[in-house]
Symmetry: C2
Subunit: 185 residues, 2 copies
């Protein structure tokens, strides 16, 4: 796994890494207990405040930790971590300490109690800001309050889940700036 050097990143621009739809690892903490879950159902909802909506199954151990602490960290793993991503999604935090089981390093965040996963390309510290869809859809609305992003590479090779055990890996980039109206950039 990579050892990324990171810098502070503007929270209003986290869409650069989330809108493309990667699988993310969500870390959480409540009263001495921490956990990590794999998440694929999320969307950017606003630039500023920097909002992200996400679906977390209530059966998931992380659900209670996030609901009670009202905090979590969205960590973006890269393709070198694919077996870890699958492994984390296929065991429960009620049975194992996932940081220890998967040899991941918990580093302290600055705005939330949930730990950041050092080995990930980016870490977005989040606070739960709206739970109005929680009972009906298990849908949390989070605000990214602090972002840490690797200084290199510019774009991470992320993994994107299709279901059925199949992952798509992010490919090449195309610059179409010239076709945009300035106000649309």
């Amino acid at each position: 796994m990579r050892n990324y050097k990171k810098r502070d990143f503007p929270v209003a621009k986290v869409r650069r890494f989330l809108e493309v739809g990667p699988i993310v690892l969500v870390s959480s903490y409540y009263k001495g207990e921490h956990n990590i879950m794999t998440m694929g159902w999320h969307t950017v909802m606003e630039f500023s405040p920097s909002l992200v909506g996400c679906m977390i199954t209530a059966a998931n151990h992380s659900f209670e930790l996030i609901k009670k602490s009202k905090e979590c960290v969205i960590n973006i793993p890269t393709v070198d971590m694919i077996d870890t991503i699958v492994g984390i999604g296929n065991c429960s935090g009620t049975d194992v300490d996932k940081f220890s089981e998967f040899d991941l390093t918990a580093t302290p965040a600055t705005q939330v109690s949930a730990p950041m996963i050092k080995e990930c390309y980016a870490n977005f510290e989040c606070k739960v800001v709206d739970t109005s869809l929680l009972n009906k859809y298990n849908f949390f609305i989070l605000e990214v309050v602090k972002a840490h992003v690797a200084t290199s590479p510019r774009y991470p090779r992320t993994v994107h889940y299709r279901g059925d055990g199949i992952f798509m890996v992010s490919g090449e980039h195309i610059n179409k700036r010239k076709l945009f109206k300035p106000e649309m950039l």
Copy 2:
């Protein structure tokens, strides 16, 4: 642009194409007016019923058409359509007929009045089922009621937006089924 042959596809499995996070084209229709918009802020919310949450700016011409008709079609374009994708996002349906402007073919859907875009890899007919977050976040919750997907290729080469005019194109696939517990597949 491709001329895909399509088949009915189980609505509970549209996550195969949406969870990876592609830019989609949303087509809509209300009282004689149709439109198309480019959308990147969406997430799967449930398998069955097949729910998708998405953010549509209220300033967008499509917003009113979808809000009033309570219907739309989510169309998945492929990388060969990238200039069309950008073009559609950089003009308004109040000024141009986007089907005509971008030489796209409107084909009738079966469950909704909004037209499907023939040139896209997949078309998901949707009904608006929840507007409780509409006023606060412009967030629609849609149910996919009918899905049409190209018979080939198995996985489309989709485009994923990073902002700033930069698109990521979907890359290779990795099969990790062997690492999954059966109940997690």
